[in-house]
């Protein structure tokens, strides 16, 4: 990890309240793994005081992209930053997704499930699944499905990105304005019922806690490996302040920033 002053290359609105920022950060681009995050200083002064943790959305050559939702003072200030300005960033932080090993027997469906802004880090994951050199050997046997759930049509994020990578994308909305009118978790049940080799599937999820909880339950019931990426209010981002706990089985806390943000769904006390 490093603390860097990064130049903002682009900061644009992609949907209502959703923004995409591209920053020049060769070090982070070189080191970042899918699922890791950066801590961004949103204000120049002391309000808000703390940095904001944002998942790495895409890793490019010398640059990284952040996709975020303007939900509070910090992210609203961030959305107003302009091209050419400097951004104080610490990263890459945390423990990212563990990519699946080679398929044991038969094809291995890889399922990414995103709720709302949860799509952001899953794009990085889909890209590493598709493009990392190590995986070329078993790419033919590993097909990636992406399930995106959102409140309404305009909140569906990254659909075209996932398609460009070559994933099969299915969409659901709560109001039925696009795709099936249901929650993303229902898409997961549907998919597991129709795909071939469902017993070989591996699940990766990021989204609201309610969604993750249901995904974890489905995975547990079907005995499928499942990794979830969590969100929590954070201060330091490196494991010093113990401010971002998640309760694990056995009445222990782990820190989202350092032990996560990606966890094995089985270990969490949902």
């Amino acid at each position: 990890m490093r603390q860097l002053n990064c130049k903002i290359i682009e900061n644009k609105k992609v949907a209502q309240r959703f923004y995409k920022m591209r920053i020049e950060a060769p070090y982070i681009a070189r080191k970042a793994q899918a699922g890791q995050f950066v801590e961004v200083k949103c204000s120049c002064g002391t309000d808000p005081l703390l940095r904001r943790p944002l998942g790495v959305h895409r890793v490019l050559k010398n640059e990284i992209e952040l996709l975020y939702k303007a939900v509070g003072r910090g992210t609203e200030l961030l959305s107003k930053k302009e091209k050419g300005q400097a951004l104080d960033v610490i990263g890459p932080l945390g423990d990212g997704f563990t990519l699946p090993g080679p398929p044991v027997s038969g094809p291995m469906p890889i399922i990414l499930i995103a709720g709302g802004i949860g799509a952001a880090p899953l794009v990085a994951l889909a890209e590493s699944l598709a493009f990392s050199a190590k995986r070329i050997a078993y790419r033919k046997k590993q097909k990636t499905y992406v399930l995106i759930g959102a409140k309404t049509k305009s909140h569906i994020l990254c659909e075209s990105e996932f398609k460009k990578i070559g994933c099969e994308v299915k969409v659901s909305t709560e109001d039925g304005s696009k795709g099936k009118k249901c929650l993303a978790t229902e898409l997961l049940e549907d998919l597991l019922n129709i795909i071939r080799y469902p017993l070989n599937a591996a699940i990766y999820a990021c989204g609201p806690v309610g969604m993750l909880k249901v995904v974890a339950k489905i995975a547990e019931w079907r005995k499928l490996p499942c990794q979830v990426s969590l969100e929590e209010r954070m201060a330091c981002g490196v494991g010093v302040c113990l401010g971002c706990p998640v309760k694990m089985k056995g009445n222990k806390y782990k820190m989202v920033c350092k032990d996560g943000p990606v966890f094995d769904a089985k270990e969490i006390a949902w």
Binding site: Q3, T46, D47, L50, G237, G239, V240, K252
Partner: protein, 315 residues
């Protein structure tokens, strides 16, 4: 010109320390810890504590609230597992301790004073997230002050009793960390001094809370938390100044120090050294920048040592 300061038997190469629970080897990739005056470890208790349910932190204007709840693995783990991992830290390591009664504080102080790497002990009399209960399971048998949970540093006789217990158990430098949640901090500081503390560090956090109007619930899992950051600096300065006028032992100033100017303000008000806490989360290099800044300030104002600046506030 020298930045060296002495706190009890402790000799620090500069007056800037990292406050308990806000800094650690995790920052090693970003900052050279060995440039600091001292490193104060996260508070430990005799037995493991799991800490409070989330959320544990929240932003507030120019500050933050925390309700960690003294999560730690206990004394044995600290001595056996944590300390050996700090072998790259060459500066003095100060242990921070908290307990539920005088006996626990005594035991912690005794074990730590026999632990080679520990240079001093800060007794945390003021964690707002783990109050001291005068009755019930957590009772301190000789102290009865009504039914309400309170912080040790909210009560003179409790403060005296705990500091005495630690003093008896350890020959190391003992620093009493005080709470601002009191009507008169100087009386508590005086009690700590009389009981044998080598120094007082002030202030810990203010008890506060944040509310989510959509869910109509408190934001923090623990309902209340400790307020820190630049928002509390003016009150911390006032308390350091008041305490400086009443006690003779050194004062370690804490409270919203973000840059060298803040640090100099505390020193002028009477601090012999300072601790940087919340600023570490915002800018991990804050402490190092403060050391450089204080050095430049001293050169500019032709000051030969920190002692010359301590309490040099003009009327």
């Amino acid at each position: 010109m020298t930045l060296e300061v002495r706190i009890g038997k402790l000799r620090l190469k500069n007056p800037v320390m990292a406050a308990s629970g806000t800094f650690g080897p995790e920052y090693g990739e970003l900052v050279d810890i060995n440039k600091l005056g001292a490193y104060i470890a996260k508070t430990i208790t005799l037995n493991e504590r799991v800490g409070n349910p989330p959320p544990r932190v929240v932003d507030t204007p120019s500050g933050m609230l925390n309700a960690i709840g003294l999560e730690n693995k206990g004394l044995d783990d600290f001595v056996k597992n944590k300390l050996p991992k700090l072998k790259n830290i060459k500066i003095p390591i100060i242990a921070s301790i908290a307990g539920v009664n005088a006996a626990e504080f005594g035991k912690l102080a005794k074990v730590l004073s026999r632990t080679e790497r520990i240079a001093a002990i800060e007794i945390n009399l003021s964690c707002p997230n783990a109050p001291y209960s005068p009755r019930g399971r957590r009772a301190c048998p000789n102290v009865q002050h009504g039914k309400r949970d309170f912080l040790i540093a909210q009560n003179e006789s409790a403060t005296r009793q705990i500091v005495e217990a630690a003093r008896k158990a350890a020959s190391l430098t003992i620093i009493a960390k005080l709470s601002p949640n009191v009507t008169d901090i100087t009386r508590i500081a005086k009690a700590a001094e009389e009981a044998g503390a080598d120094a007082v560090s002030l202030i810990n956090t203010f008890i506060g809370m944040a509310v989510d109007i959509e869910t109509k619930r408190p934001v923090l899992g623990n309902v209340t938390g400790g307020l820190s950051g630049p928002a509390i600096k003016p009150i911390a300065l006032r308390m350091v100044r008041e305490t400086y006028e009443k006690v003779k032992i050194p004062i370690i100033g804490i409270g919203g120090i973000m840059d060298y100017k803040d640090a100099v303000e505390f020193i002028l008000c009477g601090a012999s050294a300072i601790q940087v806490g919340t600023a570490n989360f915002v800018n991990p290099r804050a402490s190092i920048e403060i050391i450089e800044g204080v050095k430049k300030y001293m050169a500019k104002h032709k000051i030969s040592g920190i002692k010359e600046l301590t309490g040099a506030l003009r009327k």
